[in-house]
Symmetry: C2
Subunit: 418 residues, 2 copies
């Protein structure tokens, strides 16, 4: 993409009421625009990152047999009354709109809708297990939304629901999902701790959260540095300073970021909504269910909280908006022509490139923008580099620059960049 | 995709309150699930079609220099008060939710939000023109939503906004968009008529609609069969039976489907929200704007209204959920093995395939499902076809079947299917 065409620019200003570091950096770099507290629009660079995170999640969900659907934002009142959640638990935090003489809710989660859909198709044990997911905008009435993308009133969510003939089959799948979530988060360069959590109105059994250790998190967890034990403060029986019950190391406290959660749902929703199947012995049984959330927008915020320095963002390779930030330093015809040729050659190799072809910016401004935007590789082309038939390459997370011959660029890209 | 794994099935039942043909067929074939009047979830097959339509639109918008963003569903009340639309015009049909002591709206359109975003970045005539679009779920308070995907309370929408330094530049772009919309609709196998429409509270100047001639449309237009003239009933000065003022042919009446609309916005939003730029002479001027809507979900509904027969849907090639419906007729080990090998070989050629590998369905049931689902090519593999090292191919829109040698399949696919 030509940076001269991109409608966004970097800015030093952020909204006065914006306190969170992730939103401040994302606004300054032109990734998001704040519409109101906890409500952000995604601008071209931000949407590219969000889509990359969504695609990583999609790939992993599909590789486990997940089938993608797109359910509705609107939630019928009657359906939520059947599970007794319209005015209780999560239903209390649900936005509601008037429609004719009734009301509709805006989905903060989709157990009711997905159970009713699957109920139409599951009759026998032969139809189980089934795994259904969606990636969708969700809504929750947060009274104070002040953590940027970490806790929005309107946010992006992947929710997967699983349907099983037995608790045993559900448990087997629960373990597979835990591994898959760790894999997704590793691809986004985040390391998460699996933490026992409170039920939050979803279920009576123990759900788990994926917590990323970070200074700006909204949650407090107590965890053992060996990774053997961790609990959310809400349910913790042990505190910081206590010994880990497994490895005996001292527990540490952290204000952490919840990026995902997984809930055993048992048969609550299948019983409430009449989702039964016939088992091998011809007996009617309620379907055993699980629910698995993961927040792409929250992951985006968490990545910025973890991967930044005083100059800006440092995007991990797999979710960066572009692989290479190509910067043309001078605007004399020779440099401009060579830069444009190089840009087109890079595109032909399948490399994604943001090309800073702007004529009205100084080298200093261009470098500062590149640092703020945070693309993993900066590639500078100038009179000086062209004298040596080279470009200057620098990783965003390193100080060192190196000259690479243009004719050797392809193998360099294959080895390090792609 | 293996049909045995797909969680949906075809069904003969449709909800009692469902009157529209498009929704009935899409529900019976397992493409969508009705949650309430005018509110449908997309199941795996339906989501594949919706994504293909969205991608055609995205390609065409990007080819014209459109930059994709994703704005918020939530609309701040203060912002809509500035344009005097909160309780008037389209604002009257806006769903609204309480938040703290105020209210937020659910976006039926995004002039306010997009103008405020672009205002931050446009300062000079050098920053113009700019084209920004999104593909997003939108909401509108339809009192009676009874036309399936043609008029939803929750629906999918592409909205593009253009920003210009002059009316003249805007007009140039308006013509480009008209061509592009026709191209998008042709790729979806729809032929639309460009019709003069009423302002609908957006603007004072003349907007246009893209109307598809269909028996089940919600709009009435009067048009000349030569394509020289057409007007929506709302604004029509001429009626069916009158002569076309240009070619003198007799005007025809039709209950048509509006799939897109384009609006000259003038400087209403830029003036109301203070979006000014400095022109070449250093003078401050309000930005001239245009708005261009196109409904992917509405296109999906319109395609079903137009392309179906008594047995089911006939998807146009570019938006079909799969290119080939491979049907394994017998379940003896030889046919099963050959079918699976063929399925894998097809996937390797890049062909998308729904593979009916179900053991519990009769040939008659499989053929009926294939006709209802409507994939363009049906490929049958059976003992009989294998005796001739062949598969039987049939186009969904033709009666004729033909045997094609398996070793000649690749060139057949390249020529006709892909």
């Amino acid at each position: 993409m030509l940076q001269s065409q991109l409608f966004t620019e970097t800015t030093k200003e952020t909204p006065r009421d914006e306190k969170s570091l992730n939103a401040k950096l994302l606004i300054r770099a032109g990734f998001v625009h704040k519409e109101m507290a906890g409500v952000y629009s995604y601008l071209p660079l931000g949407l590219r990152v969000l889509r990359k995170i969504q695609n990583i999640i999609r790939e992993e969900m599909e590789s486990m047999g997940g089938q993608e659907i797109l359910m509705t934002v609107f939630q019928p009142r009657d359906l939520w009354l059947k599970t007794d959640r319209w005015s209780k638990g999560i239903g209390k935090d649900m936005f509601k709109c008037k429609l004719n003489r009734s009301e509709v809710g805006l989905g903060p989660t989709h157990e009711e809708i997905v159970t009713r859909i699957l109920k139409s198709y599951i009759r026998s044990w032969r139809d189980l297990p089934k795994f259904v997911f969606q990636i969708q905008t969700k809504f929750r009435k947060e009274l104070r939304a002040k953590s940027g993308l970490l806790r929005g009133r309107e946010f992006d969510m992947k929710d997967l629901y699983s349907f099983h003939e037995s608790e045993k089959d559900f448990e087997r799948y629960y373990e597979i999902i835990i591994k898959s979530y760790h894999k997704i988060l590793e691809r986004c360069d985040l390391r998460a701790i699996l933490t026992e959590a409170s039920g939050k109105g979803f279920t009576a059994s123990t759900p788990h959260e994926f917590q990323v250790i970070a200074p700006a998190g909204e949650d407090t967890i107590f965890y053992c540095p060996g990774g053997d034990f961790s609990q959310n403060k809400e349910v913790a029986k042990l505190k910081a300073g206590d010994k880990c019950p497994i490895c005996k190391r001292i527990l540490i406290e952290n204000k952490s970021i919840e990026v995902g959660n997984i809930f055993p749902l048992g048969t609550k929703y299948s019983k409430d909504l009449g989702a039964y199947f016939t088992d091998k012995d011809g007996k009617k049984k309620p379907i055993v269910m699980g629910c698995y959330g993961l927040g792409p927008s929250r992951i985006m915020g968490a990545v910025v909280e973890i991967h930044h320095d005083s100059k800006g963002i440092l995007w991990p390779k797999e979710i960066a908006p572009f692989q290479v930030h190509l910067i043309q330093l001078q605007k004399n015809p020779k440099v401009k022509k060579k830069s444009k040729n190089l840009y087109n050659a890079l595109l032909k190799t399948g490399t994604t490139v943001l090309f800073d072809d702007r004529d009205d910016k100084s080298p200093g401004e261009k470098f500062a923008d590149a640092d703020l935007i945070g693309i993993p590789w900066r590639m500078v082309i100038s009179e000086r580099t062209l004298e040596k038939d080279s470009v200057e390459l620098k990783r965003r997370d390193r100080e060192k620059t190196e000259l690479v011959k243009i004719r050797e660029l392809l193998s360099f890209l294959e080895k390090y960049v792609q």
